[in-house]
Symmetry: C2
Subunit: 334 residues, 2 copies
Amino acid sequence: MATIKDVARAANVSIATVSRVLNNKSGFSEDTRKAVEQAIEELGYVPNGVARGLISKRTNTIGLLVPALSSMLVSEMVSGIERTVHEQGSSLIVCHTESKGKKTMQYLQLLIAKQVDGIIFTSEVLLQEYYQMIERSGIPLVLLSTESLNLPVPSVKVNDRLASFHATEYMIRQGHKKIGMISGNRNDMIAGVPRVEGFRMALSSHQIPFEESMIVSHKGFSYIDGAKSFRTLMTDHPDITAVVAASDEMALGMISEGYKMGIQIPEQVSVIGYDNIQICNVSIPPLTTISQPVAKMGEVAAKMVLDMIHGDEKQESVVFPHEIIERQSVKKMN
Amino acid sequence: MATIKDVARAANVSIATVSRVLNNKSGFSEDTRKAVEQAIEELGYVPNGVARGLISKRTNTIGLLVPALSSMLVSEMVSGIERTVHEQGSSLIVCHTESKGKKTMQYLQLLIAKQVDGIIFTSEVLLQEYYQMIERSGIPLVLLSTESLNLPVPSVKVNDRLASFHATEYMIRQGHKKIGMISGNRNDMIAGVPRVEGFRMALSSHQIPFEESMIVSHKGFSYIDGAKSFRTLMTDHPDITAVVAASDEMALGMISEGYKMGIQIPEQVSVIGYDNIQICNVSIPPLTTISQPVAKMGEVAAKMVLDMIHGDEKQESVVFPHEIIERQSVKKMN
DNA sequence: ATATTTTGAGTAAACGTTTACTCAAATCAA
DNA sequence: TTGATTTGAGTAAACGTTTACTCAAAATAT
């Protein structure tokens, strides 16, 4: 591959001059510019970003860490980030940590070694261990769909507890009294705990009686978890008329399972999802859900790291408003 | 950030020695190893991959180019690639070209500048222009879900024409005689043309009469395209009993549109999809489809570039077998 | 005891850029 | 004309590694 030296030789100038025309600094005549540009053209020269990175301390690369999330959710989140990052001339390295601490540490090491300009950390609690590593490297960091109460890291998220509260309250307002929840992994500090809490609070603030077994949780937040959870929920509580799901995928899995079990949705059981992924529009029935504007949030998070990279020290955390998207998976009971 | 010099100073050795213990070359005593390792630990030193890359000419990064595909399909494809690539200690830069030639060229330039070790190009025709650019850079290239008839580039794909032929024949075998197709973008050389061809060939080889207007095409291969195409198909040909869809997403959009139009699927109209993305399992009804093992294919493509990077010059192209996955969206008519 | 090999470690060049510094030639002011 | 300034361009150091070369000290062979 041609290097700047080759170009310099071909154009009969020094490499400094080539560099200058490349970067549009001043210090060369129109004639030399032409000569250099022609040489570049002829040799098909592309400046070596690695060498540039070494000296400029910028790689124009940012790293993204995502845990084991449902694929559609990740894909929407990533797309928002990727677009924004690329618009600014950088690229994105995506790392699936699978929620494993060890893997996360490895990826962190990798990203630091690669000298990424910034890191976006999503949907998981930022362990002290992770933070220290990043902190030490001096790489700007922003949190997406997660937050840290004690560490000074800006974040972009939705108020999960409140959103879940509203989802549940929505069911109550439609006249439902027997409401269950399929909660995904209820120990998950991000998508589990707060949503369960919101659910409970809504019920208790409306004095609706409730048993522990009306919240059924599973490993994750996917179709299968939704389907399985729904089945156990219905065998334990056949009189339930509404379900709050911790993710759209779970809601979809539930609808499918209902179909197999001969349970009509929403005629017999209503459901509200969480996330508002694209497919909600074309499910049968179309899914009523809490909209969490992931693509937009990803975009904002990306802008935030980019700004930090460009020197804007501390960014303000932002909490996005959620929204109830009414479609047809919830039946009015009153 | 600490550099190798800092480590050398702290451990009281030369940078060459540090480098040696870092890379496990011989030439140091047990004592110095310990000293160096301790210094590394204390300083939280992480070797600078950029500097390493400059000298070793390896960035441990591979680039992926994807056009405007449906998000779920991309996400499955990417996941197979990413896992494999990461297992081998490299990372992946994903570039969404949106099927724009100009953007593609820009990304290509970017990937070359970044000195990626390999490139995976997916689901689009490899223009001469693209090829020349990559060729010139000497970066190993493999094609995924596409192929080049004239250029010497290894590829991983499925036989689209044959797959579509089989899908259509499957409908015929179930006793369908009035079969339409919603084709996505029928000019797309990869996912359009061959599938339309396969469809036509199946009909004609079974002497089933057919009109041009029974193939309706649209911009892309997404839900909405499916929904819209189905609507026009049904208004023009209300007597149709089966539809061959060019993608699962289109089939899903069609089912949803059918629901709105009061058309029962599969009771009134049957449908077969294409791709076998995960969600087919939980659609209502579960979608019969042509399985194209994208995750697996991505994995194989990734292995191929990796092998090429490691010096295995020419790789054999592989065409994956497709498979009909029978679920419940096709009704038997005989 | 001497000659030879092995071991442990340092020095410096190289990778492909950018940029501070230098300087001759050209332009301008007086 | 002379001195001052501007313009165009080259030289060389620096970025953080790896590695070929070198060499003294230690270990081994004779």
